[in-house]
Symmetry: C2
Subunit: 274 residues, 2 copies
């Protein structure tokens, strides 16, 4: 029987993007064990319907249960926006999405109460960022924009490229006109475009990466439940495990680029069976 | 019991792109009934592994069997390249992919024996276009280039746009340097970028759309098996049926834009059950 404090945290995403959330968790609570699942066989989620995203999320939760995780992080904005509310009662461990923490910091830090949200079509269509932000700050006006080309550009490696700049300028036009002082990067791929977004939006717009606040909320939750991992324990090689629904070589390459260290080979599982 | 001649043709794709193949089939053999399946819940295929594509293709063939199709068209280059050979013995009706017909016309019409192939990562990595072309024309040299941004650009509606031109110029650089006189548009989305490809590649490069040759081969096969639909029959509204694994609104919009007529609502099925 695993002691609960030693149990891993489950982190999942539609694919690669959630690794930016995992990176933030590792930074803030480096002693924790993590099981990461990337749904590489069905990526992306952003253009799919709520019913499908809920179905996929349920399968992933069933898989993570078999790993006896002590907490779950939905490191995908689309799944957080479309599925978290519907599935949260199906698990008996804390489950944290990236939308609420991102909304909270934006609502608290905006000065002119004009907040931009960029994300997938699913995340934007869900309206969940707007809803959370307005609950926390009724004066806030939220301007949302779906940016479907950003994920493919990131996955193509064009993190710094004139094509990406041109696409960014196109997508940001309305948000700049709206005069937002805060911009939520509402998809886990987007922090990798931070420097381009900074360049296009200017120095005065605060770029919010929900991953940071999500890791803060995770840490607080583990403390509150008294299930933080005690210092030391397993060594690095053992600490992180990666599972994917499709054994793409890109996963390993991307993971190394984002996390900055060699990861053990990801194990392929048949997610349809869960 | 359906008479075999009156049975529908099954056409499937990872999502929307195969509609350009369906359009060509309708042009050439307008009396045929067609059942179209688009795997919208798991699109795209182009970045996924062969094992996953074979698994998905098997499920789709099982679904099409329930529709008692008389022939099957794999209207997806990635599935044609990765899965057709592995699954063809699992069906007892003719099954036609888009790769071989496209390779045949390119091999036969090139004058300088330098042929370019553009497609998804999966299609390019499979090497199947190269293999077929060299079998038919041993003198041919094949230059392949994966273009992962083309599908998202098409689905974003940027069929004619400076961003698309910039991306196309980038992707075509090597093929232009190689001096190809023939370019196979080896993904069903790409014919929608024909005018941009024409502009970037110049008037002297022959752009091959495998959909055309695929419809020719389908017609010949139906004639040879004596299962062409007899003239007349069902009216238009009844003739085409659409099934999808995710009930995206985009499907209907895109289908109308590509086919040029109103289609009946696509029915959502759970493809994992097949």
């Amino acid at each position: 029987m695993i002691k609960k404090n030693d149990a891993p945290i489950g982190v999942f995403d539609s694919g690669l993007g959630g690794l930016t959330v995992m990176r933030e968790i590792i930074r803030q609570i480096p002693d924790e064990r993590i099981v990461y699942f990337g749904d590489m066989a069905r990526v992306p989620y952003g253009s799919k319907t709520q019913a499908t995203i809920i179905h996929y999320t349920e399968q992933i939760l069933n898989f993570l249960k078999t790993k006896e995780v002590k907490a779950i992080v939905v490191a995908c904005n689309t799944a957080s926006a479309y599925a978290l509310e519907a599935v949260k009662d199906q698990v008996d461990v804390p489950i944290i999405g990236v939308v609420k923490p991102g909304a909270r910091v934006a609502a608290a830090t905006t000065k002119n109460n004009r907040i931009g949200v960029i994300g997938t079509e699913g995340t934007v269509d869900s309206g969940l960022y707007d809803e959370f932000i307005r609950k926390l700050n009724p004066k806030a006006e939220v301007f949302s924009k779906a940016c479907p080309l950003f994920c493919p550009l990131v996955e193509e490696g064009l993190w710094h490229d004139e094509i990406t700049t041109l696409v960014t300028e196109r997508y940001m036009t309305e948000l700049k006109e709206a005069g937002v002082d805060t911009l939520i990067m509402g998809c886990t791929h987007y922090p990798l475009l931070r420097s381009t977004l900074r360049e296009v939006m200017g120095e005065n717009v605060n770029l919010v990466n929900p991953a940071y606040e999500t890791a803060v909320e995770l840490r607080r939750t583990l403390e509150w439940k008294d299930i933080l991992h005690e210092e030391g324990g397993s060594d690095d090689a053992d600490r992180y495990r990666f599972y994917v629904s499709d054994a793409s070589e890109r996963f390993g390459r991307f993971a190394q680029a984002v996390l900055g260290f060699d990861i053990p080979a990801a194990e392929k599982i048949n997610i349809e069976e869960f």
